[in-house]
């Protein structure tokens, strides 16, 4: 497809370095008038892609989980059940049907919006809805920290250069190298066990206590965001260096434009598309990262639900989570594409 998000982003990245693009409020509000048609076309295309993607991903998940040795019937019955009891229970759960028939049964219900019940009883959609906010907060928090710290570090490094640049490079390398779960354990040891600043495990809902909610998220978000901070810092530093060394910036400076104006009006805006691209990729990666972090911090998120469901061979629950996660990924891509338009109207998704 010539309108894929990848090519869109390439065009966006190319356009981002164009000094002739319109700027400021005029650009934003001027193009806002054109957005509705744009938005409809783009959203429709993404929806069509999402349906196809959901079909492929769920079918693949179904096959992979079905091929995994063991099943929910054995998990529920345990060691004590005789082979005949086991066969009877498998039949009761419908696990003795051919894979394609099982998938069709699930799909026909899912198409009506019914994700069914877990093989262990609870309603799939309700279980996911109960746990999704934790995962969303983790991802959102990690993205926010990545954006703020990453851009700050990258900008500082590009402006100061020299040793600070090398420090940012080293930090980026370390950020990529250290696994989040390892960092999580270290953070717990230092800030929860030694200093007792934050809880070692668990989650407090925002509605229950905003203060405790915040504290319960600090360490997991910190562990989860280190990789993102590193990636954003590196990308924003490089993008900013390109801009600061460009001819139009030199001209601006020669014309007496202040350093802060150069930074805010030219450099920061020019780096934004690259940063958004990195954040988009990070957001999708973070969804996977929450699986481990939720385990380390014993958080009741969708990631830990996915792990439990997989271990228990709870196919309806696994598929439900896959549907939700796939939709979130599609949504993230849509938001990124829209943000390109907002950041640079020369970018058009056809």
């Amino acid at each position: 497809m010539n309108d894929s998000s990848v090519s869109t982003r390439r065009r966006a990245a190319m356009a981002a370095s164009d000094p002739d693009r319109p700027s400021g409020l005029q650009r934003t509000f001027g193009n806002a008038m054109l957005l509705p048609g744009w938005l409809v076309r783009l959203t429709l295309r993404r929806l069509i892609t999402a349906v196809a993607l959901l079909f492929v991903v769920t079918a693949l998940t179904f096959v992979l989980v079905s091929l995994t040795p063991g099943d929910a019937a054995r998990e529920i019955l345990g060691l004590n059940a005789s082979p005949s009891e086991y066969d009877r229970f498998r039949h009761q759960l419908g696990l003795d049907l051919p894979i394609y028939e099982q998938y069709w049964n699930w799909l026909s219900r899912a198409l009506t919006g019914d994700l069914g019940k877990s093989l262990y009883g609870p309603d799939v959609a309700a279980s996911i809805a109960e746990r999704l906010p934790v995962t969303i907060w983790l991802v959102f928090g990690a993205l926010l920290v990545s954006l703020i710290l990453g851009v700050s570090l990258g900008s500082l490094s590009a402006i100061r250069r020299g040793i600070l640049g090398r420090v940012v490079d080293a930090f980026a390398l370390a950020g990529f190298a250290f696994p989040a779960f390892w960092l999580g354990v270290l953070l717990i040891m230092l800030f929860a066990v030694k200093l007792r600043w934050f809880p070692a495990t668990g989650y407090v809902p925002l509605a229950q206590s905003p203060g405790e909610w915040f504290l319960s998220l600090v360490l997991p978000v910190a562990a989860l965001s280190v990789g993102g901070v590193a990636a954003v810092a590196k990308q924003s530093r490089e993008a900013m260096l390109d801009v600061l060394d460009s001819e139009y910036v030199r001209m601006a400076r020669a014309n007496g434009t202040s350093a802060s104006s150069v930074f805010f009006r030219h450099a920061l805006k020019s780096t934004s598309i690259r940063v958004v691209t990195v954040l988009g990729v990070q957001a999708i990666g973070l969804l996977g990262g929450t699986v481990v972090i939720e385990s380390v911090f014993a958080l009741p998120g969708a990631g830990s639900l996915a792990v439990t469901a997989s271990i228990r061979h709870d196919l309806p629950m696994v598929l439900g989570i896959v549907v939700y996660f796939t939709m979130i990924v599609v949504l993230i891509n849509l938001v990124i594409d829209l943000s390109y338009t907002w950041l640079n109207p020369k970018v058009r998704v056809r």
Partner: protein, 513 residues
């Protein structure tokens, strides 16, 4: 290049960091602070697959069941029993064939309905029909309601361990409200028992945390020591340790891997032997592994294992080596070292049996059983290889894969942990010809005879001990070590006790210090 002033630089950073939520970084103790008086916080690694006592498996998650469903009988740590929902019980006549329970008067379930003989009968029938553990209860032919408070269980085979099977240690004794049994699907996610607490669905996220509040219908309100109990499910043992060490939990399920660190953190370790690690020889009739029919080969397997070294390396002070099956009521200390570590003797026995060059043996173990899985299986494989027996080790990645492999008919030997349980439970689950885990359904007539005698005996223990000796002498399994079930207890709680007789500690007896 023009450079910025420090102030401009600072403004850049501040602009980018405008939304950084720094508040709270110097904050207080968060939820890691001390426990609230009146709340008990328990950490368990699993919640079980359901809350329904009629369908639940044995697991550490049983603590949840015990809190909400008081049991007919309570198991004491010393192996004796105390009244629960039943005030007395006895076998009527000879042969342990009729078991009578007299129920406590004026007991109500949490839904307000009365607990009487009819309710006990309905609950037990539900259990017998649905539970994967129903076979443990023996062959109950019918349940008789004698009067409002008396119920009798009629069996077609003696079962001297019924007081245990109806105790808090086994879900059968957890009586469910008859009203709730009208729609049993609700029991998976809510509790309707006659226990001191009842599940608060609003404060519960399944498989993460369960909130329990006092049951206003409980017959002994003075036994309710907490205004709230929170049971958190923390599968990761390191996270469990950290939650306990930082005061987020009052009582936590521990394990051998984190026990030393827990002790260093000032937690009290309460422990008792609760599992036995062994190679279970399924095919001693030699259907697919003909070598195993020869008792000398099975004895060679036992002599080849350096139990002391393996135990020291894997379970340290939290276990003991043993070459005999460890069970409750059947244990014979004289058989602990029945098979000394003697590789020479093992080689000699193999040569006598016609296998001087050894042979290859397929064994399935599990990657998820920790010390009772792959870790110790690799150590066993090394020892056995020294005498010429090569293990073809298949490592299952989930429990259900392990069981599937065990039932595949292609695995003559299983490596696993098994609960230190009453001998009849071990026998009927692992050894008797129709035991589910006797995957080749091989019979040993001597064991069958002893088991039958024990079933009808007033004192079955002498028969159970003879069974232990028979299993050891015939080398029907290769026991390696027992390991402890470990609980981490904070200084805020008293009364936490475990023993081999009561592997699931009863939280009803816990109280704040």
């Amino acid at each position: 290049m023009a450079t910025m002033s420090r102030r401009e630089l600072l403004s850049v950073v501040m602009a980018a960091a405008v939304a950084l939520p720094v508040a709270g970084c110097g904050g207080g103790a968060g939820s890691g602070g001390g426990g609230i008086k009146g709340e008990l916080r328990i950490g368990l690694p699993v919640a079980g697959t359901t809350l329904d006592p009629g369908k639940v498996q044995h697991s550490p998650g049983n603590a949840l069941r015990i809190l909400a469903y008081d049991s007919l009988v309570r198991a004491n740590g010393d192996g004796s029993f105390a009244p629960g929902l039943a005030t007395s019980w006895r076998f009527v006549g000879d042969g342990n064939m009729v078991f009578e329970l007299v129920l406590r008067p004026d007991v109500m379930f949490s839904d307000g309905s009365p607990l009487n003989a009819q309710a006990v009968k309905a609950s037990l029938e539900y259990f017998l029909k649905n539970s994967p553990l129903a076979s443990n209860l023996g062959k109950i032919t019918y349940i008789e309601v004698v009067d409002e408070r008396t119920v009798r269980l009629h069996l077609n085979q003696g079962n001297p361990i019924l007081p245990f099977l109806l105790s808090d240690q086994v879900p059968a004794g957890s009586v469910i409200s008859s009203k709730a049994l009208a729609d049993p699907s609700t029991l998976a996610t809510m509790t309707v028992g006659a226990g001191p607490y009842v599940l608060d669905a609003g404060g519960t996220v399944a498989n993460d945390h369960y909130s329990l509040v006092p049951n206003r219908h409980y017959y002994d309100q003075s036994a309710i020591k907490y205004s709230k109990i929170t049971v958190r499910i923390i599968p990761d043992s390191t996270a469990m340790l950290q939650a306990a060490a930082t005061g987020q939990l009052d009582v936590a399920y521990g394990n051998v891997e984190t026990a030393d660190a827990a002790e260093s953190a000032g937690l009290t370790l309460v422990r008792a032997p609760n599992s036995i690690n062994a190679l279970f020889i399924e095919d001693f009739a030699g259907r697919i592994a003909p070598e195993l029919t020869d008792v000398r080969v099975r004895q060679a397997l036992n002599h080849a294992i350096d139990r002391a070294t393996i135990t020291r390396a894997i379970v340290r002070k939290y276990g003991q080596p043993t070459s005999a099956l460890v069970s409750i009521g059947g244990w014979d200390e004289q058989y602990r070292e029945y098979y000394a570590y003697d590789p020479e003797k093992a080689r000699s026995l193999l040569a006598d049996a016609g296998y001087p060059g050894g042979f290859t043996l397929k064994v399935v173990t599990s990657a998820v059983q920790g010390i009772n899985g792959e870790q110790s299986a690799r150590a066993l494989a090394r020892d056995l290889e020294k005498v010429g027996i090569k293990l073809d080790l298949k490592v299952a990645t989930t429990d259900s894969e392990f069981v599937q492999e065990a039932f595949s008919g292609t695995t003559p030997v299983l490596h696993s942990g098994w609960a230190v349980a009453l001998m009849p439970l071990t026998y009927t689950t692992l050894i008797s010809p129709d035991a589910p885990m006797n995957t080749f359904h091989v019979a040993d007539s001597e064991l069958e005879r002893l088991s039958a005698q024990a079933s009808a005996a007033t004192d079955p223990q002498p028969y159970w001990k003879q069974m232990t000796r028979r299993i050891a002498e015939q080398a029907l399994m290769v026991p390696v070590f027992t390991s402890d079930g470990i609980w981490y207890v904070s200084s805020r709680v008293r009364g936490v006790e475990v023993s081999s007789n009561s592997g699931s500690p009863n939280p009803i007896s816990w109280s704040p210090k």
